[in-house]
Symmetry: C2
Subunit: 216 residues, 2 copies
């Protein structure tokens, strides 16, 4: 019975997917350890326990491999945020959970963040990939804010929501970059700091209140 | 009298400084128009009305020239913030003026921001220069928050202030990047949005209050 199931084509393809993930795991470790420039395909193949031609055959050049790493880590990051944010929770709780998920991910992958994110940011064509990923994250956050506004039955201009999403994502990115360099820092503290910084401002927006300058 | 003054060595050096600024002005215009790759030293020399060897003699290679542009624009940006923030004003007024100065600068230099900032960010060694400039800005902002805390006679941990400075700078950067792509957007609106987003959170910090999650 098991033998006949194992011979079906869908099961034959499974090892390839698994092997690709193993290669990506190995590549992330080697890129994190060495940086993009110093990382060699030999070391990545060694780390994955696979021949170098096989790595090329599966995932292409070092550039392709690096892009695949950045995209996979980026998607995991988004998942780690979206999976913990319950749509039915109060807005502050959603924001808190999302921030905590984000900083927990960064805290658990400090080396990866420092290398993958920073190297990708400062090198084309990776910088464009990262910008596209960032746009996806901003859209997800703006959507969350939009639903919170609807739930609060207040009105907010779409541009205000978008601006808040940009502000939140930019602030989170900036603190995450600091966190990656501080192994002693607790990711939950970073989440709480950003919560303190942003929540009351966000609540104001949700209630349709606006801060006004006292002088022009 | 004028002739004798003009012949003094300090006055002889003045035209060089003026000429350097003219070359930088020309270089910023050409880089903004063409992007780093497409910009040629010929076009920059033409734009400045100076021979190409003279440009090389004054400011070095295209890389050196681009770095000089980024550093000059960065310093101007910092000046445009610091010059409008009065130390003796209430904290929210300082923040508001600083944000308004920042977004006004970006709004007035959209092309420059799009090219200089984005190209510098995604290319070594410019990315390191930009990171260093960012660290200076964070230090300036953290100092402003620190003085506001002292004035409010409350206590705040230095790490909380630093985190808030990172959050504020990251949020501002993120919204500025959006602003650069939206010529129809009013810089003052961007400043007001970030003020709404961040001010109440910052006020909380200044008063020593902390947001607490309702569940762990």
């Amino acid at each position: 019975m098991l033998a006949s199931v194992a011979s079906r084509p869908t099961f034959k393809r499974l090892p390839r997917a698994v092997r690709e993930q193993q290669m990506l795991d190995a590549a992330v470790r080697v890129f994190s350890r060495r940086g993009f420039h110093e990382a060699s395909m030999d070391e990545i193949a060694d780390e994955a326990g696979i021949s170098k031609p096989m790595v090329y055959a599966y995932l292409g050049s070092k550039d392709d491999l690096f892009r695949a790493c950045v995209n996979r880590e980026g998607t995991r990051l988004l998942e780690s945020i979206v999976s913990v944010v319950g749509d039915d929770l109060p807005a502050d709780e959603q924001l808190w959970r999302g921030l905590r998920g984000f900083f927990a991910f960064v805290g658990a992958h400090r080396d990866g963040w420092a290398v993958l994110y920073r190297q990708a940011k400062s090198r084309q064509p990776f910088a464009d990939d990262l910008a596209a990923l960032r746009t996806r994250i901003v859209a997800v956050v703006a959507g969350m804010l939009g639903r919170a506004v609807q739930a609060a039955r207040t009105s907010a201009h779409e541009q205000d929501l978008t601006a808040s999403a940009y502000a939140l994502v930019g602030a989170a990115e900036s603190i995450a970059d600091w966190l990656a360099d501080h192994p002693e820092a607790d990711p939950d503290h970073s989440a709480a700091r950003l919560m303190n910084f942003s929540w009351l401002g966000a609540r104001q927006l949700l209630q349709g209140e606006l801060w006004q300058p006292s002088s022009a």
